[in-house]
Symmetry: C2
Subunit: 418 residues, 2 copies
Amino acid sequence: MIVKNANLNGVISDIFIKNGIITDIIKSEKNEKIDYSDIIFDAENKIVIPSFFNTHTHSAMTLLRGYADDMPLRPWLSEKIWPAEAKLIPEDIYWGTKLACLEMIKTGTTFFNDMYWCIDSIIKAATEMNMRFAVSATFIDIGKDTDELIKELEDTYKRVSIIDSPNMIFTVAPHAIYTVSEKMLKYAGKFAKEHDLFIHTHLSETKKEYDDCLKEHGMKPAFYLDSFGLLTEKTILAHCVWLDDDEIKLIADRGATVSHNPISNMKLSVGKAFNYRKMKQANVQVTLGTDGCSSNNNLNMAETMKFASILQKFAYDDPTLMTAEECFKIASLNGAEAFGIKAGKIEKGYEADFLVLKSNIYDMVPGFNVYSDIVYSVGNNFVDSVFCKGKLIMEHGKIEGEDEIISQAKKISQKFLS
Amino acid sequence: MIVKNANLNGVISDIFIKNGIITDIIKSEKNEKIDYSDIIFDAENKIVIPSFFNTHTHSAMTLLRGYADDMPLRPWLSEKIWPAEAKLIPEDIYWGTKLACLEMIKTGTTFFNDMYWCIDSIIKAATEMNMRFAVSATFIDIGKDTDELIKELEDTYKRVSIIDSPNMIFTVAPHAIYTVSEKMLKYAGKFAKEHDLFIHTHLSETKKEYDDCLKEHGMKPAFYLDSFGLLTEKTILAHCVWLDDDEIKLIADRGATVSHNPISNMKLSVGKAFNYRKMKQANVQVTLGTDGCSSNNNLNMAETMKFASILQKFAYDDPTLMTAEECFKIASLNGAEAFGIKAGKIEKGYEADFLVLKSNIYDMVPGFNVYSDIVYSVGNNFVDSVFCKGKLIMEHGKIEGEDEIISQAKKISQKFLS
């Protein structure tokens, strides 16, 4: 595959791709190397930028977009979200994940780190949509039989580890320290270490979590998690709003990754702004997530970037905090790095995950600074085409099967209304 | 004009329009009244909702989108924005306003309250784009000759008041209490009263403004403004972040309108969140504005609604604050009411300002709640067609002359780079 005439930082270039990797980049005007027997995508002077890596979501919850909003946390969960989720069958999760993938691709995301149930449905959906993804064996064991959960985790891992899917990463995902027992957290740490697995969990979303942990376990949440070997270089920690300085230092020391979810945090009134400045000073790997659609209500990483950057400026009284370019890197390169994927840059040797932007759209006019325009201006209509691992997964706005996805998702949603 | 098969709150209806007014609404299935000699727009079961009223912007600054971001306020203004603005000639303002109108129509706005120079260019542009608008005779007189400014204001008013434009409202717009002299503020109050004019000004954007006013004038900003007769039922106050309880009460008593600009406030680090709860308790008329593109960087009222609603939940620790439906009303009905326009509802007797939404777009799937979807989910690609005063000003995403607007705006932007 050759992507020709791509505008890369103002230089019109041809991008050569083989086996999903960028093998060469040559200025178009000087390029005599084009092999016209290869597949050619003409980017026609369109701007090409790295794609986004969404490091925390619950993708199938896209089925619950707009189902319950503007409610206090507890009744929202117990009266609306949980009863609705209880109605979901594996086929629903399959279509819900597809709907999520559709939205993510349309808005320039090529990877998502998921936390949800019915892992087989998720794998099938994401694989068919040609995305990169991390799926989780996720568990909550308050009031459940831990031994059964352990067996389930082992079975899931066995079943998933023989699936031949080069786009997939498997994560062990204890839901949170307040929903998983000590026994299960301990087992999860051991299991992840034994199999060298990624770990995905929620951490420090609310003050209550911090206060309760200190009271019940005599430790701050990050230290409590660490006591089970759950803070590693392969750990992704969603939220991390209420961390104190010691916890930030611990996370940096362990080399764990933080997934900041600004929209969800603000919408659910978590009471504090993620402290990006301190994370940066401590050299924590910061990435961005959308969270699920029931607390956002979309999966648009461009919008999430705007919220992230502007929230920092607002909450920490500094209009220079988290610049557009920095925010863009957090949403692309940092997310890729966190999962050991060499993407997030359009350079020789990098994975071919990138976006061809629409040209002449009003929200990128005049076009002084592409990072500013992507982070602060665009809506959800700026991506012309998407490459993931060298494969063209959206061509000029079109994704295979999108009408069916939308109609299936609408059909499924009927069951929540009865 | 008849808009047939419109989905109005779930009821498929035909909307009859005459002279820009909704004259009747009839259930489509029961309707035998359609006169096929009339112009028919088939909304094909698409959802129809009121359009948005953007109550504070500097539209021509769209030319500076992305020109300077992530800078502290003072150098941002003095080193970047003001020198760039000094290069603008009236024709540039004309094209800049057109670019702004293009973006506003595409994202569902049919009215904007502008504050900028070269009023003739703005009137020409907005009129050609078929929008409703308020234009301002705006002035800053620090270091300027006040008598000259008074003459200018009178001349502008004379010139504009004879223009036959039923879509236009004229406002007297002292920039702010800290950029306009006492003499000029006094004159502006008198002039507005004499001619029964709308007043548009910035108020209480920063703490410095509050502190300085108290120190220099021995009065809080709202009281200082009021002392010149500038707080009336026809006054629009942009920002109002640092108002105290007495000021909120005064504004409510005077019946003035507040324009909340959440994105600009957050991006420029104004240090505090607009206090919606208190405004609501005091019965202040709250509306929404995008502010200009150099501090936002777009004019998308849907995005502004999301920021407004979510900022309240975050800043005041209450996920039930400013619900989606409430926020929608603030952005539509409240804005219209503030300018004495009977719009913001799709009912018999109301002005025909409304949007036909796209159907089957992923960001409105499943589609449980249209207010939730518009406020929390959509990007900038949700509007199929726009009616303003009964006129179809965008038809299936197309607006006359859009390519030329984009190419002219790009051409003009070159002058800022030299």
